[in-house]
């Protein structure tokens, strides 16, 4: 039945080459923890991606309840945390995932750095990876404001003060992300929400696609 369905689609769209391209690539012995225990260091990149997927899924469920306005943001998070079935788990995964993804990405970066795996011909992939790191930090920064509790507001005020202190374009940059030259309020919350759930994830997806395409094209770096 499934085979027939596959064949029906394949006849019309020729999906086999596409599928074989995804499925067929070799895993060399030196990265396989089944053969060398130390190869567990190669897991950090995959775990980063795994947490990223969890972040996307849990974030999608959070937006079912979250309201990005200064009157209801905190109330909706409180409700989600205390009243909604499994709300505490979903929010907990998103909250801890944000920290874990930084830890895993840090370890992945160190693995690649100390093995010198960023050298020719992999310079571009390293740079894309560092950009992903920046995007993740920005996601953490913008997500921190969204519950609209005390630490969220005052930490964001500190961040905006730092942005404001940038020479020349500081004030303009601050107005762009906060929505107002002086007030940290309703406008800031909606902007951070939009940046956190639309702009940054869009950039993240594009960079992740580039990251994975490049590693597929070049293959994983050889043993030291």
């Amino acid at each position: 039945m499934l085979t027939k369905l596959y064949d029906w689609v394949d006849e019309r769209l020729d999906i086999t080459p596409l599928w074989r391209d995804i499925a067929d690539h070799e895993v060399p012995e030196h990265v396989n923890p089944a053969h060398h225990f130390s190869a567990f260091v190669y897991c950090f990149g995959g775990l980063t991606f795994f947490i990223t997927v969890i972040q996307i899924l849990s974030g999608m469920f959070l937006t079912m309840y979250y309201v990005p306005d200064i009157k209801n943001a905190w109330e909706s998070v409180y409700y989600l945390q205390n009243e909604v079935a499994f709300g505490q788990i979903v929010r907990g995964m998103h909250h801890w995932g944000a920290s874990l993804v930084i830890v895993m990405m840090f370890l992945h970066t160190l693995r690649v750095f100390f093995q010198g795996a960023y050298k020719k011909p992999r310079e571009l992939n390293w740079m894309v990876g560092v950009l992903i790191f920046f995007i993740m930090l920005a996601l953490g920064l913008t997500g921190y404001l969204l519950p609209w509790d005390m630490k969220a507001l005052f930490a964001t005020k500190v961040t905006l003060t730092i942005v404001d202190s940038v020479p020349l374009m500081g004030p303009a940059l601050k107005t762009l992300i906060a929505g107002d030259p002086t007030i940290v309020g309703a406008q800031t919350l909606t902007r951070f929400f939009a940046i956190h759930v639309f702009f940054l994830p869009a950039a993240l997806f594009a960079l992740l696609a580039a990251h994975f395409l490049m590693i597929r094209k070049q293959g994983i770096s050889g043993p030291l």
Partner: protein, 255 residues
């Protein structure tokens, strides 16, 4: 691949009528113990993922994510702290030559150089050697940067009053306060609300007055003689007024 004359297509489409076989590659002639990603290696990878997921869920259940009280922009006594992975940048801004008139150094120059060097690492470390032992400068700088980040994070966390931090953000149960009552007016007049807050839920410098569980006599005593950080003689009214106020505070219970 078939080229040139005699090509057959599915209908009027550009899809070739010759189907390609859906067979996995053969890795037996590859060096070492190379294996297929799909499905062999992916299953093993998933085992690591599953173990990780269990730990992750345990963490989520053991430590519910924190939520402080709703943002109150008027509470100027609140001491903010960023999330832990920004602590090193935050700590950097506390040093003399990285803050105040030198703010640009702490906020831009040092982080810019560090992250810029990270981004451009392949062009700074261009030698053909990959082994860490043969790249003393790259490895040395990275270890130095790591030591710096760990030290700054530790320095920031070790000198933060976590107890006070927990208290200043705690969610306090509010009460239905009759702000036209005699008791509340007396508190307003005596300046109680400047520390205990307009909703009497406390603040960075004073505790909440709701659900104190104290008798009116005990409250009268504190109002006159002070307690902890509260100095003596804060209440300056008559004994009758004090009794009204004490009765009012004693009766404050959460919704």
């Amino acid at each position: 691949m078939h080229r040139g004359k005699g090509m057959k297509f599915v209908g009027d489409s550009r899809i070739s009528a010759n189907r390609k076989p859906n067979i996995p590659k053969d890795y037996s002639e590859y060096p070492g113990k190379t294996e297929a990603f799909w499905p062999n290696f992916l299953l093993k990878e998933w085992m690591v993922g599953a173990v990780f997921l269990v730990g992750y869920l345990c963490l989520t259940i053991a430590h519910p994510s924190p939520l402080e009280r709703i943002a109150d922009p008027t509470d100027t006594a609140y001491i903010p702290l960023p999330d832990w992975y920004f602590l090193f940048l935050y700590q950097l801004l506390k040093y003399t030559y990285a803050s105040g008139p030198y703010n640009a150094i702490g906020a831009l120059v040092i982080p810019g150089l560090a992250f810029g060097a990270l981004l451009l690492a392949p062009f700074l470390d261009r030698g053909p050697e990959r082994s860490p032992a043969k790249r003393p400068f790259a490895v040395g700088f990275m270890l130095l940067a790591m030591a710096g980040v760990f030290y700054l994070t530790w320095e920031s966390a070790a000198h933060h009053d976590w107890e006070a931090s927990k208290k200043q953000g705690a969610i306090v149960e509010g009460a239905d306060i009759d702000k036209d009552s005699e008791g509340y007016k007396l508190m307003d007049a005596s300046g109680c609300i400047s520390c205990h807050g307009a909703e009497l839920t406390g603040g960075a410098g004073a505790p909440s007055l709701i659900d104190t569980g104290l008798k009116p006599e005990e409250i009268s005593k504190i109002a006159r003689k002070g307690q902890g950080a509260m100095p003596a003689g804060m209440f300056k009214g008559s004994d009758e007024e004090l009794a009204t106020l004490a009765e009012f505070v004693s009766g404050l219970t959460a919704k």
